[in-house]
Amino acid sequence: MRDRILQDQEFQLPVSRIFIAASLFVALLLDWLPWQGMWLVFRPDFVALVLLYWCTHKPYHVGISIAWTVGILADVADASLFGQHALAYSVLAFSGIVLHRRVLMFNLHQQTLQVFPLLLLAYTVYAAVHWQLRGSISWEYFIGSVVSTLLWAPVTILLQAWRRPRAAPDQL
């Protein structure tokens, strides 16, 4: 029920560019936290999640260009090759924009299943680039896509809650 309500309100929820930028920025900071050891293997890609959220919910505000720019920033901070994250995020944003109506049709649980292939695709692009250029691949990396997928529902609820106007008289 709750999901349905949230969905119905999607077009009413206000969105400001500053909020979008801030959410992406926070996601970048989360990705830059000093993850180590086991945590590194389970590290979800917050940037990919937030990008996907905006690409599905506001496809005309956040597009492939923004995804690409954010990807370049991630590349510099990660010391990965220039364009590696950028390419993965561009593909992710494209798939999110193309499928945004389909994804929003479902409730949150079903959305999680819909979102998994998209995230897996982005992870695969990143790993494929690495494999082509560096010739090695580590399969633990894909665990991250599963963890990210599991975080789709919490991230969506969180962002929806923040976007909802504060003074809503008929809401509890």
């Binding site: 970048l28 900071l29 990705d31 830059w32 936290l33 000093p34 993850w35 180590q36 590194l40 293997v41 590290r43 005309y60 597009g63 492939i64 260009s65 995804a67 690409w68 990807g71 370049i72 920033l73 510099v76 901070a77 990660d78 010391a79 990965s80 090759l81 220039f82 364009g83 590696q84 950028a86 390419l87 561009s90 593909v91 494209f94 924009i97 193309v98 680039v129 690495h130 250029l133 560096r134 090695s136 580590s138 633990e140 990396y141």
Partner: protein, 303 residues
């Protein structure tokens, strides 16, 4: 034909597919340029300067935690440490006396042999600022960079052995590739018998691999590998790794040898950067040359 296409009331710019193709090509171009050439290093270091305060900010909480943790180390443990250190100190002094004698003797022998004295390497202390979060890369970022005269190619070690090599220098940071990185290799010698080999990273923090060693070669468990200094990058005689597993399968031409790094590759916070790059005399030109080169040489000789 035209009626089949959806009407477009608003001008939204090019379609997503066009944008995707554009940005994908741009990414691939950047990737290609980044892999083949080094043009993008200045852009990268410029952007890294912008991102540096943010990265510092993100690492602050864990750093603060460590500092508070250190602060509350109990009095007792400090006293205990102190007494232990005192004992150690007296032991060390005794050994140090021996060492001085040995050094003097060594010096004497070297002088006798007219061997060029190898200088002690100047080094500077740096602290790990930031550990890569990419499990493909085994890299760390230190808090000394171009401003502190760090150069790419310098060696990074801790108190027990070699940790890695500086591969990229930013103004206030430098990026270190660990010896366990998949793409990294170190020329080594077995301390016991002087056998030369090259040790490769395995991509795993606790493991190195010694490849292309014939089955019959004399390597045992527990052998210590030290740098041979043959490449001119690593100074000779620094400990690198210890052999932990030797597998000799007659079906393969080479033995499968695993080593563990001696240095705490993933353990310490402070590391030493050796500030010298050894200068070796230039490698003599290859003797075998192509026919055209020969004719050129002939002309030169004629003149």
């Amino acid at each position: 034909m035209e009626q089949n296409q959806p009407l477009r009331f608003f001008n939204r710019g090019p379609s997503p597919a066009v944008r995707l193709v554009f940005f994908a090509l741009l990414s691939l171009l950047l990737l290609f340029v980044d892999v083949r050439y080094r043009y993008l290093e200045s852009i990268r270091s410029g952007l890294s300067v912008l991102l540096y305060p943010l990265q510092r900010l993100v690492t602050t909480p864990s750093k603060l935690w460590h500092e508070i943790d250190d602060f509350f180390v109990s009095h007792n443990s400090l006293i205990r440490d102190n007494s232990e250190l005192r004992n150690q100190h007296t032991l060390d002094i005794a050994q140090l006396l021996q060492l001085q004698v040995l050094q003097a003797e060594n010096q004497h022998l070297r002088n006798l042999l007219m061997v060029q004295q190898r200088a002690d390497y100047p080094m500077q202390l740096a602290e790990i600022m930031y550990v890569e979060r990419d499990i493909f890369n085994r890299k760390i970022l230190l808090d000394k960079g171009g401003q502190a005269n760090v150069l790419a190619g310098q060696i990074v070690m801790d108190d027990s052995g070699i940790v890695g090599q500086v591969t990229r220098v930013y103004p206030w940071m430098s990026e270190v590739t660990l010896i366990t990185d998949k793409d990294h290799s170190v020329p080594v010698q077995v301390l016991r018998n002087g056998l030369r080999a090259v040790v490769f990273g395995s991509g795993d923090t606790g493991e190195l691999a010694l490849r292309y060693i014939p089955i019959s070669s004399d390597i045992q468990n527990g052998d210590v590998l030290v740098t041979s200094g043959i490449d001119g990058t690593y100074p000779p005689g620094l400990p690198v790794a210890k052999v932990i597993q030797v597998e000799r399968d007659p079906a393969y031409p080479f033995a499968r040898i695993l080593c563990a790094p001696i240095a705490g590759v993933d353990k310490h916070r402070q590391l030493l950067i050796l500030s010298t790059l050894l200068k070796l005399p230039e490698r003599p030109e290859a003797v075998v040359e192509t026919a055209t080169d020969k004719s050129k040489n002939g002309k030169r000789g004629g003149r």
